[in-house]
Symmetry: C2
Subunit: 216 residues, 2 copies
């Protein structure tokens, strides 16, 4: 009975890790759609979110079934509850990639991001990508040290967001209100994607050490 | 044993409803701080969020303990899992009220919102307030009909957000980039507060009817 339980739990965690990979690809694709004004790619991200939602719900159902039938306690229980939480994080990250793709779509055939700001957006997207990848490995390997490094990467995201706002508000902005608003919201979307990666990592730290990280 | 279970579950749901009231007050206070450039009130919202986080964690711990010790199945299990999800919604709504208060604080002693836009922000805040109140009653009374009315209120929030963007982008905007960015983000914060209220309501619908609402 216990063996069957751990087997099913392992499958659930494997699927969670795989879903993290899918979400990571969606975020990368939304950035590519944004920076290249690539309409088919933007549509692919927007349509693909249904699949992320369905997979999330499917894993969630299995986790609930395992909870109901095997009635785990202590760490095993916390593992399943953490899994449910991480599924919510992943679903939100998928939604945020859709928001990025929709900003891209709204401004087509133009590129929503002015050339001078593209390096900053690329850097934010790259940090988000690293953070999702790190979260995936942290979940797969219960790697608490990597979780602490992820917090440092999040500081880099904060720094980039400040750079972005300095560019928008520094007085030399010449692209008008619309791109400024797009960029403020895009900055927020990437920042939130990073926050959800941090939240996943903190759930793992809590599982392993029993300590709640501040803000987790 | 079962009686004790339902007694504890009822207390948890009562506390969740009460926490919803606390979050509702925090959102209202953040709006008042924003529209009146009220520094002490903004600080109160920012500091008060710690209390919301602590209460969330405390209820969460009790829900997990009940899960572990009483090992509920079927609807009882779903009720507890839904409670955990709703706690995450409430915690996020608290965070969003802090974001509103921080925008207010950043522009003090000025009011961050230009006079011409204040009615729209007031209307968004009022819709958010109604939505949180509705969510609270839906959770307390398992009122599925009210949940469907809440979706209509959410349409009103969407309409207001479009009004806001029309004002920012309509070509007659004369307040510059900074307030435009503040307002785009504020619009997003109120919209997300509404989304979390809808998410809470959908969790209740799922509990009662067993059907997942689209996007829940």
């Amino acid at each position: 009975m216990r063996d069957a339980y751990y087997e099913q739990l392992d499958t659930i965690v494997d699927d969670l890790v795989q879903l993290t990979g899918t979400v990571r690809k969606a975020v990368a694709a939304s950035t590519a759609a944004l920076l290249n004004a690539d309409a088919p790619l933007a549509e692919q991200v927007i349509d693909g979110d249904k699949q992320i939602d369905e997979t999330t719900e499917e894993i969630e159902e299995r986790a609930l079934l395992l909870l109901a039938t095997q009635q785990p306690v202590a760490t095993d229980l916390r593992q399943l509850v953490a899994t449910l939480r991480m599924l919510t994080d992943l679903q939100r990250m998928g939604d945020l990639s859709v928001h990025v793709a929709k900003v891209a779509r709204l401004r087509m055939p133009d590129v929503a991001v002015p050339v001078s700001i593209q390096p900053t957006i690329m850097a934010m997207a790259s940090v988000a990508d690293q953070m999702i990848h790190a979260a995936s490995r942290i979940v797969a390997n219960r790697d608490v040290d990597a979780a602490s490094r992820l917090e440092d990467t999040d500081d880099e995201m904060d720094r980039l967001r400040k750079d972005l706002f300095r560019a928008l508000l520094g007085g030399t902005w010449e692209h008008g209100i619309e791109p400024a608003i797009d960029l403020a919201l895009l900055g927020r979307y990437y920042e939130r994607i990073g926050d959800h990666a941090v939240s996943m990592a903190r759930r793992v730290v809590y599982l392993v050490t029993g300590e709640i990280a501040p803000g987790a």
